[in-house]
Symmetry: C2
Subunit: 597 residues, 2 copies
């Protein structure tokens, strides 16, 4: 069965651009090879196409239900998730000592993107399990790892993340769930959680909730938050008993339906036992470690949705006859396939530019993780990588979720009326993707994180490092002697200047005490820097694509170059515009009082 | 019950800006007065709030069904539509001689926007009836008017528009439905129609389909299309019999569900009788007359959706506590209402700017209709008005449907996770609104219509006239001595220059025979001109708002000025950007061959 997935798209990111095969020269990944990577990715494609994609439409028609305290899911979900687990994907990026495969995170990300593009909501269960397992693997005690991590990697236990509460979504400092120490060293939890994905189901033997809560007398705000492991079931075998953490309500969403989302009650009817992770009051710190990965994961999922919509609408455009060329006045001539119309090509190019730019960015971040792991393993300095990942994370979360949603809207538009019906997948993917600008920190929060914390907060160190990396790519393009590359490099250099000027202007405002005015421009700043970063991602791709032209995959590489040109012609000019608009120092949003709205 | 509707918003467009009350000085509208208008608008608000808004969520949960050839709709739909009919709204803008109220179209548009903002899909039935009745009133014979128009205005008969076919959506020249003349002067129709809204239901005694079809031996293409009245039932009373025009399939959509959309078969099982409207082969011409109004109607509906989402998210933002000011590090302080956060204000201002700009534009077009009617009535020249309406129509259709969809996405974002659930109306409105860039000619088609036909096609006459109108508003702002107005006027003048330069560049390309390259920029051109037109709409509003400040509705007027400033600070710069990008003459979209995608 042919689906929308073209393996070359993923191989290009991994090998042509990121040279991921070279990671195998490092001792951490020495057991692996390009052949192993290719094999894994092919297995991912096969399972995604055979088990995930065919059930996506059916899962979308079904709202998870709550019956007698149990969550009922669509029956087609479990076989897909089982196939993922049985192939060992949960442990793919975990060390072998915990039962994993020890694959680079970049290769895991390629697999993740393939699965996500076929059925993003279904993949939520294993992805959350991986994120939770990851956190335990880094911050859990040896006992916690033995008890929870191993069965999670085996896929016998699944995991969740429990952060938000009804009164505290974007503002975690206001959570009120309490955890009180008991004589046996465990904690008794009481409170409620909101927006919890995958909080209950029957797909695993146990569900391991990672819960943020406060201990009695803890400091107010985020400094008083601790992290607890709260399993659905305590013990195993005969001593196994239900812990009092229960779904008490479901959130019915516009999309993403297969991932059940719910309201959780802890200790409402009985005892809810939890185990402290690490030290008290450091919960948010631990959670943030995982949240960065989760945010890049959201960006990857958004990009994968964009990719699915793009590839589907591309196929449709090649097969759907409609209309004639503008200058052809003969109605008796046969109709053209719509892909021949310039405006349809524009919509396809924009989708390709958004989604492949976004995928490239998330793969780039994933490779940074690999470099971080290698450095850890070799006991080397990771500071540069950390800083780079820090500044790229809000961009990698927000940019794909903004622009690949727009890509999905264009996919609908290519299909016209058909795209608006539920007979075609594009409207469903659009609905699924609409969640991505919201969860794991709204894009507004990402903007504040980027400008306030990552740019102004560290006095431009992160941005300086990022600029150096971008300039490396610019220099490579300049030294290529290829006219197109040199032209793009020049544009990117100018854009970088706009970023620099704009950052200085905002920094100056902050220095003058006008922090609120400076931060009121955080969303346009996020777009400004996001477009610059993605323009960089396209130059990275173009640099490699030029080397590939002329061989047997000539059209693949030429398509990359055309798309880079399209992005530079129609998207890069926005960088200048946002820069100018921000530097104008407009105070409208800041000064508008509620009564004027 | 308080809903999202604030009457002052509509009164401002009508009275402050458009001085609609002055229409009553003209003999055509001399029976009316501002008091009558106000009364009608208040009735519209009451019915919309009491009958339409409360059932919108329920209608959205129900997919119309086809049972034994009959379409089954949600039972809550009919009472709402009945209330609209009983209050006489179908005939509101029709002459009294046909049973109407003879209201100005602008006042009818205000009512329409109020209804649409409460329940766009439900209002589709009467709106289509009005459009069909309008067409019959202009092009139908006296007999056709007596037989069909009068009961339509009474609300006993409903109407539809049957243009598209499965193989001919955007390309009407390829329709194949045939109409063969019979001995009695009527026609026998055979064929299939696609995407037909409101094609069957039990809410009226009869359904009057206006069908495009070809006659045997007619010229190929659009020049061979004729228009037919095809009623669901032929005759009345005892002689009443079913005509063979039947729904054979339903399209299940992502939104807009209450408006049933279907596949129609004509003459599939028996005789399908139709009545020729006007002359043979002029069908598309007649239809276009109506289509312009329908297109502005789509823009109005999109703007109304934007308005509903804006007002709902505004209310939410005023009542939802979350987070603290950026500089407040004390977590024990109470949380702020989210409307106090600059980025939330930005999202609300953007919504207000998009939706009130879009509403203003559609009201402006509606007032042009009124001026056209007055001129017709007074037997005066309408050429200027016709040209202005012609060039504004694609903008009034496409701009609101692009940007008010974006507004709806911002409304979801303001609500965060709650906005993504079906417990709040914003996601439903977003889904409903996603149809508007597609139907009544996709926005891609609107771009081609604007650039190809309305700008280049008439060698800039329309654009010249439009520019003159814009300059009038600029001059008024300049003469106001108000610094803000003068600043906005300056920006608009510059934008107009960008439009001029860009139009000349595209015209030059076309003159040089590069028509395809010129037209490949039609969508960015539509955005360029659209933003300029809406910037004009905001200056129009600001000019009047300045006069209103200082009185008892001071904050309403100041809000208008702030929003105009916001639009000029963050949206108007895009005009320059699109202009530069278009003038760069980028050929990427045109030159990208399908194998590169």
């Amino acid at each position: 069965m042919e689906t929308h997935i073209r393996l070359k798209d993923f191989q290009f990111f991994l090998y042509d651009v990121l040279k991921v095969e070279e990671l195998c020269k490092k001792s951490l990944y020495e057991n692996h090879s390009k052949e192993v990577f290719d094999e894994i990715i092919e297995v991912a494609k096969k399972i995604a196409e055979e088990k995930f994609e065919p059930v996506a439409a059916a899962l979308d028609t079904f709202d998870p239900q709550l019956k007698d305290g149990e969550v009922i899911l669509h029956p087609d979900l479990k076989p897909a998730v089982d196939a993922f687990v049985e192939a060992g994907f949960i442990g793919s990026a975990f060390p072998e000592e915990w039962g994993g495969m020890g694959l680079p995170y970049s290769v895991y990300t390629a697999c993740g993107a393939i699965f996500s593009s076929c059925n993003l909501p279904a993949i939520g269960y294993p992805f959350l399990t991986i994120a939770a397992a990851n956190l335990i693997s880094v911050h859990g005690s040896q006992e916690q790892k033995d008890t929870f991590l191993r069965p999670m990697i085996e896929g016998r236990y699944f995991g969740t993340m429990c952060l938000s509460e009804p009164q505290a979504g974007s503002s975690l400092s206001d959570i009120t769930t309490m955890a009180t120490l008991k004589d046996d060293g465990t904690y008794s939890l009481k409170g409620g959680k909101m927006w919890i994905s995958a909080a209950d189901h029957q797909m695993s033997e146990n569900i391991i909730h990672l819960v943020l809560a406060k201990t009695p007398g803890a400091p107010a705000g985020v400094k008083g938050i601790s992290l607890f492991i709260v399993p659905k079931f305590l013990g195993e075998g005969e001593s196994k008993k239900r812990n009092d953490i229960k779904v008490v309500g479901l959130n019915h969403k516009m999309g993403y339906r297969a991932t059940v989302n719910s309201v959780l009650a802890l200790g409402d009817e009985g005892e809810c036992t939890g185990f402290l992770v690490g030290e008290q009051h450091k919960g948010l710190l631990y959670m943030f470690h995982m949240m960065n990965e989760a945010r890049i994961g959201v960006g990857m999922g958004a990009a994968a949705c964009g990719y699915a919509g793009y590839r589907y609408s591309l196929k449709y455009a090649k097969e759907r006859p409609q209309g004639r060329a503008p200058q052809n006045k003969n109605p008796s001539d046969p109709q053209l396939m719509i892909i021949e119309h310039a405006d349809v090509k524009r919509m396809l190019l924009a989708q390709k530019a958004y989604t492949e730019g976004a995928l490239m960015l998330t793969f780039y971040c994933a490779r940074l993780y690999d470099l971080q792991q290698i450095a850890h393993h070799d006991k080397k300095e990771t500071k540069e990588i950390d800083i780079l990942l820090d500044i790229l994370t809000p961009v990698a979360k927000a940019w794909p979720s903004d622009y690949c949603l727009e890509a999905n809207s264009l996919a609908i538009q290519v299909l016209g009326g058909y795209g608006y019906t539920r007979d075609y997948p594009v409207e469903r993917i659009y609905r699924d993707n609409r969640l991505n600008p919201i969860h794991e920190g709204t894009n507004g929060i990402q903007g504040l994180d980027l400008l306030g914390r990552k740019v102004l907060g560290d006095r431009g160190k992160g941005l300086k490092l990022l600029s150096e990396k971008i300039i490396e790519t610019i220099k490579e393009a300049e030294s290529s002697k290829d006219k197109t590359l040199i032209g793009l490099a020049k544009e990117l250099k100018t854009s970088l200047q706009y970023v620099d000027e704009t950052t200085k202007a905002l920094g100056f405002l902050a220095l003058k005490g006008k922090v609120n005015l400076s931060l009121s421009h955080s969303t346009p700043y996020l777009h400004l820097l996001g477009h610059t970063v993605v323009a960089w991602m396209w130059l990275l791709q173009a640099n490699e694509a030029v080397k590939g032209t002329g061989n047997k995959e000539d059209s693949f590489y030429k398509g990359k170059i055309k798309t880079a040109q399209f992005f530079y012609a129609w998207e890069v000019p926005k960088i200048k515009m946002w820069g100018e608009a921000i530097r104008s120092g407009d105070k409208t949003a800041l000064e508008t009082t509620p009564d004027l709205l």
